[in-house]
């Protein structure tokens, strides 16, 4: 009696008649993908200046974003409006984190290939569809007084998150985003409360407000391939289906001034980083097991005197699966 539940179907069919309209159509995946591309272009091509809130559980943070774009070049300043006035200013070359509460400025050089900001660039629609279901909303929705197009991206397994996105109909700019899990539950939210799109940005607005007097500077940098042979013998045994190695580089840890191997695996939407560095037995604090900050998860282990850390905006199971599969080659 494999189909023991089959007798339910007549009742089911009756119930279905009472179901409200779905507001979605199966053929919208391609259009949803076009909207993703449109959102991505907006980030690379538009100036905007606005205030957004970031909500996670009971926490609500307000931030100002000033975004300037010109001919593929981008500069952006992010300022916390609550608590300590931390700032992040990033452009094509570097990310500068101004942390007045720690009296420090941390500078990371951007090592990604190409000059522009990382783009969504999912490999191809078909590939993305293997791991996500994408749908376009039919209902009108407004965010901060603007008409938006809603796009829902739901993961097909529990190794990645999904998104519910509200894109400005006119410009394509992402005005609101929910990070959702496989069950559709909202984990985190980002939403503009006010935004001016296509405005002229005064270069002064892209400079930090905080004084850097008495601040300590920490610089990270890339280590050229071939100059360090320390970590050649590592392998990653297992990644969830669809994740492929997208970047591999050596960098110098700005805080510890030590070389770190950095591997990036991505499925086109989600990304996971693996960091491998020599563990300092005398002065270091080992990170072992799970840790998380909101929807970001990390997993650490010490193998052969090396600290292995896996970080990503993915579920705990993903960083753990990858972290536990990292091996030192004999």
């Amino acid at each position: 009696m494999r189909y023991a539940g089959f007798s339910l179907f007549p009742i089911l069919a009756a119930t279905l008649l009472l179901s409200p309209g779905t507001g979605l159509a199966a053929s919208t995946a391609a259009t949803a993908y076009d909207w993703l591309m449109k959102m991505n272009r907006a980030t690379r091509e538009l100036n905007y200046d606005g205030t957004f809130v970031f909500q996670q559980g009971q926490k609500l943070e307000a931030m100002r974003i000033i975004h300037w774009a010109d001919k593929g070049s981008v500069k952006e300043r992010l300022v916390s409006l609550n608590g300590t006035a931390r700032e992040i200013i990033r452009d094509d070359q570097q990310v500068m984190c101004y942390l007045p509460d720690r009296k420090s400025v941390v500078v990371e050089h951007r090592l990604a290939r190409g000059k522009s900001f990382p783009v969504i660039l999912p490999k191809r629609l078909e590939q993305l569809q293997k791991h996500y279901e994408m749908q376009l909303g039919r209902m009108p929705a407004r965010v901060t007084g603007r008409d938006t197009q809603v796009v829902v991206i739901l993961p097909r397994d529990s190794y990645r998150y999904g998104y519910r996105l509200w894109a400005d109909k006119e410009s394509g700019l992402l005005l609101k985003a929910d990070l959702i899990d496989q069950m559709g539950s909202t984990l985190e939210q980002f939403m503009f409360t006010q935004v001016n799109i296509g405005v002229t940005i005064d270069p002064q607005e892209l400079e930090p407000d905080v004084s850097t007097d008495n601040m300590a500077w920490y610089w990270g940098k890339r280590i050229e391939q071939g100059t360090v042979t320390l970590f050649k013998g590592w392998s990653v045994g297992q990644v969830p289906s669809g994740f492929v190695l997208s970047n591999k580089l050596m960098r110098k840890n700005p805080r510890r001034n030590k070389p770190v191997e950095h591997l990036v695996y991505s499925d086109g939407l989600a990304a996971v980083s693996i960091f491998i560095e020599k563990f300092d037995k005398d002065g270091g604090t080992a990170m072992k097991g799970q840790s998380s900050m909101g929807a970001v998860h990390a997993f650490g282990d010490v193998i052969n005197d090396h600290q292995i850390t896996v970080v990503g905006e993915v579920p705990a199971a993903t960083v753990e699966l990858i972290g536990k599969s990292v091996r030192a080659r004999p």
């Binding site: 339910l8 279905l16 279901e133 739901l154």
Partner: protein, 184 residues
């Protein structure tokens, strides 16, 4: 993967746009094909996600809304099979979908039909727990070692550079860093 024609049918089924004959055919296929049922389940979740944007934009816990909705719509058609569920399983199964009574019913069919449901009740329950954890902790690493937290923050900044979804997660991630909670 489910073929395009069938996904069209599922969508039409949910919109009540199928003829009686077509509907019977799709329901039969749903009972037979696990992939198809998973697609159907995802569509219900997506529909719930899409419908929610009609409501207020403020706090959104879809899970709670779904649970609330289940409370409003008892599903008598489950009676035949309920005895097979432990109470906790039933709760978890309901939470899993629950965008409509029909969705719950189809999910329940899955419990009978297949010994390997697409989401085990344990998975559902643990997903809920994880979310509760996330909400309780707020914006800081859940470690008691400040040195580890600082290092994880540094890694996160380095990781952000390679995130393919700059438009959305980029802002979210850097935002996380800017508003990182230093409090006790």
């Amino acid at each position: 993967m489910v073929d395009a024609e069938m996904t069209e049918h599922i969508s039409a089924l949910m919109d009540s746009e199928l003829s009686e004959l077509e509907r019977a055919r799709v329901l039969k296929a749903l009972a037979r094909d696990r992939d198809l049922r998973e697609t159907w389940e995802r569509y219900h979740i997506i529909r719930a996600a899409l419908n929610e944007d009609l409501g207020p934009v403020s706090s959104t816990d879809l899970g709670a809304r779904i649970a609330e909705r289940i409370g409003q719509f008892p599903s008598p058609e489950l009676k035949g099979g309920v005895h097979r569920w432990k109470p906790a399983m039933r709760w978890a199964g309901n939470l899993a979908l629950a965008a409509s009574v029909a969705a719950v019913a189809i999910l329940s069919v899955q419990w009978f039909v297949s010994s390997e449901p697409s989401w085990t009740p344990q998975q559902v329950a643990s997903a809920r727990l994880r979310q509760a954890d996330i909400q309780r902790r707020g914006l800081r690493w859940d470690t008691r070692q400040p040195e580890v937290a600082r290092q994880l923050n540094m890694y996160l900044v380095e990781h952000n550079e390679f995130m393919p979804t700059s438009g959305m997660n980029g802002v979210m991630s850097y935002g996380r860093f800017v508003s990182y909670d230093n409090g006790p």
